[in-house]
């Protein structure tokens, strides 16, 4: 099964390996055909990714008025506003908290499930079936999967009636829905798959002889996991973590749908600005968010050198 994560790894491998032999004259020098073949891809990403991102940088210095969304200018006011508003700091703190909690849980869960599928299930067919079971929800609607929690967690929902009937609580629990709890639950529900897939991919590449060697040398199962499997899964863990961290840091949909009006996040505050057509402040906030996300990814790749681990 080809997965995006394995493709990232193999594509990087390919780029890294081709780099080594380009000192001599390349018999397959790029022709006009090659260039023609990548033109559509290049154009799409220029028009809808590179230029828009550069524009966001520019817009973050723009002025705005209620009747004109974008007034070209150079002002630092938007950034000053972002950094001086006390809500900004609270929002970032809340978002970091979500990010950390969700990362820890999805990592532990993803690692355990991938470990189970990779090392306990011997039949490849069964492995594929279980893998498919985990990935099919990825191809269905995220909004619907969020909304699906409402009848379970709501005031009169299934969880509450169950708890009431069992006598665990006397009153319906309000914190189950439209709270940080439901937002975190939603994140885990939606994005654990992003951890399972790359970690599973790293695990199935591990030479089984290494694990046998560890066992023969007297390592317990925990020691084998800690000193053999975990280090060898680092690239998969890094890729999964990058996905989870960037998604959670920038999310506004899950926070809006499952957080009700109660929960704040950076993505949501940008989205709120945008719904009032305040593009420049939104852009300034987006730039701060982007800088933080990039720093987190760089930090992660410093700890785990994805290329070196291949």
């Amino acid at each position: 099964m080809i997965t995006p994560a394995s493709a990232v790894v193999s594509a990087e491998q390919k780029l890294a390996s081709t780099k080594e032999d380009d000192s001599g004259r390349d018999p397959n020098a790029p022709s006009w055909r090659t260039l023609l073949l990548v033109t559509p891809l290049t154009l799409v990403f220029l028009a809808f990714f590179v230029v828009p991102i550069l524009l966001v940088i520019a817009v973050s210095f723009f002025n705005y008025e209620s009747y004109q969304i974008l007034i070209p200018a150079f002002t630092l006011q938007n950034y000053i506003d972002v950094f001086t508003e006390s809500t900004t700091w609270d929002t970032y703190l809340a978002t970091f908290q979500f990010c950390l909690i969700v990362w820890v849980i999805t990592f532990v869960l993803g690692f355990a499930l991938a470990y189970f599928m990779a090392f306990y299930i011997r039949s490849v067919t069964w492995q594929m079936v279980m893998f498919l079971i985990c990935t099919i929800p990825f191809w269905t609607s995220n909004v619907i999967r969020m909304i699906s929690w409402i009848p379970l967690l709501g005031r009169n929902g299934i969880v509450n009636s169950l708890l009431l009937n069992l006598g665990v609580v006397r009153q319906p629990q309000e914190w189950l829905l439209y709270s940080s709890f439901s937002v975190i639950l939603g994140f885990i529900h939606l994005y654990t798959m992003f951890m399972i897939v790359p970690i599973f991919n790293s695990m199935v590449r591990i030479d089984k002889a290494l694990i046998e060697a560890a066992t023969d040398a007297g390592a317990s199962q925990w020691q084998t996991i800690r000193h053999v499997i975990l280090p060898l899964c680092k690239p998969g863990i890094a890729i999964g973590s990058i996905f989870v961290i960037t998604i959670v840091m920038g999310d506004f949909v899950t926070v809006t749908v499952l957080g009700g009006g109660q929960v704040a996040s950076v993505g949501k505050s940008i989205w709120t600005d945008l719904s009032y057509l305040q593009f420049p402040p939104a852009a300034a906030n987006a730039m701060v968010l982007l800088a933080i996300v990039i720093l987190m990814i760089v930090g992660l790749t410093r700890i785990i050198d994805i290329r070196k681990e291949l």
Binding site: L55, V56, C134, N142
Partner: protein, 275 residues
């Protein structure tokens, strides 16, 4: 797999797996059941009767939102994005077999698009169209926004496929006198066809469910996920569950069709090579 003698850790992890699968599918199954509430039924259990009245309501005129229109737009948009993704990713996959000037930069730009917070891209595309004075629309800025999300997946799949592609097949075709175009059509295309179906699956379903990148790029007319998010805040009847059941059904049908197509293509290839 159950007949062997398993250690205790196997059962613990199997239990975790089963609980996780229940956690994954439980909520979706719940709203599927609830969408068949009788006409008196509410947003949660108990079921008051059983029927499809909420499904018929989906397609009737709504007080909130434009479900029929957004559903149609989402399907058309998904089909366009699916086709465009397959074609562009296939072409780029062919090109990326060789290292060309700028191939690394292009590759990293595509990966960056995959992990860029969607709201930033959405804001950028919105600003671009605003500054150019072009009206934002689902068939212009909307398609562009979706392609920045579907193409990275498509390209990665194609790169992985061409990594394993046996170039001797291609050389054999050339030696037998096929033109470059004939090699692509009669040698490469049949071999990578199952992967192209996979790319199409990514293209359609990711577009059909896309929400975050669309938010500032769709203009006046919503796609289904945007409409759903807007409806969700003031949904008071199981209509929203019926709608959810329908969109999940659409996704599942697309997945099933794609997977069986892949299996069919593989089986055909296996049969051919065994002759």
């Amino acid at each position: 797999m159950l007949r062997e003698n398993h250690p205790r850790s196997f059962w613990a992890l199997l239990l975790l797996f089963v609980v996780f699968v229940l956690f994954l599918y439980g909520p979706t199954i719940t709203i599927t059941i609830l969408s068949f509430q009788g006409p008196e039924g509410g947003l949660t259990f108990p079921m008051r009767g059983f029927g499809t009245s909420w499904f018929t309501q989906v397609f009737q005129a709504q007080s909130v939102g434009d479900i029929g229109g957004s559903f149609e737009r989402s399907l058309i948009l998904g089909a366009i994005v699916c086709l465009t993704t397959v074609i562009i990713a296939f072409m780029a996959g062919l090109a990326f077999r060789l290292r060309f000037k700028g191939s690394s930069i292009l590759f990293y730009i595509v990966i960056a698009s995959l992990i860029m917070p969607s709201i930033v891209i959405s804001l950028g595309i919105g600003s671009l169209f605003e500054l150019l004075g072009i009206e934002r629309n689902w068939f212009s800025s909307g398609i562009g926004a979706h392609l920045t999300w579907t193409l990275p997946f498509g390209l990665l799949v194609m790169l992985a496929v061409f990594n394993r592609f046996d170039r001797r097949l291609e050389e054999a075709g050339r030696d037998l006198g096929a033109s470059r175009f004939q090699v692509v059509m009669h040698v490469i295309l049949p071999v990578v066809a199952p992967a192209l179906v996979g790319v199409g699956l990514f293209g359609f379903t990711l577009s059909y469910d896309e929400l975050a990148r669309s938010s500032q790029a769709m203009g006046a007319l919503n796609t289904l996920p945007l409409e759903l998010q807007a409806m969700q805040t003031n949904a008071t009847t199981p209509v929203i569950y019926a709608l959810g059941t329908l969109t999940t059904a659409v996704s599942l049908v697309v997945i099933a069709v794609s997977l069986s197509l892949v299996l069919l293509l593989r089986a055909r290839r296996a049969r051919r090579s065994s002759i």
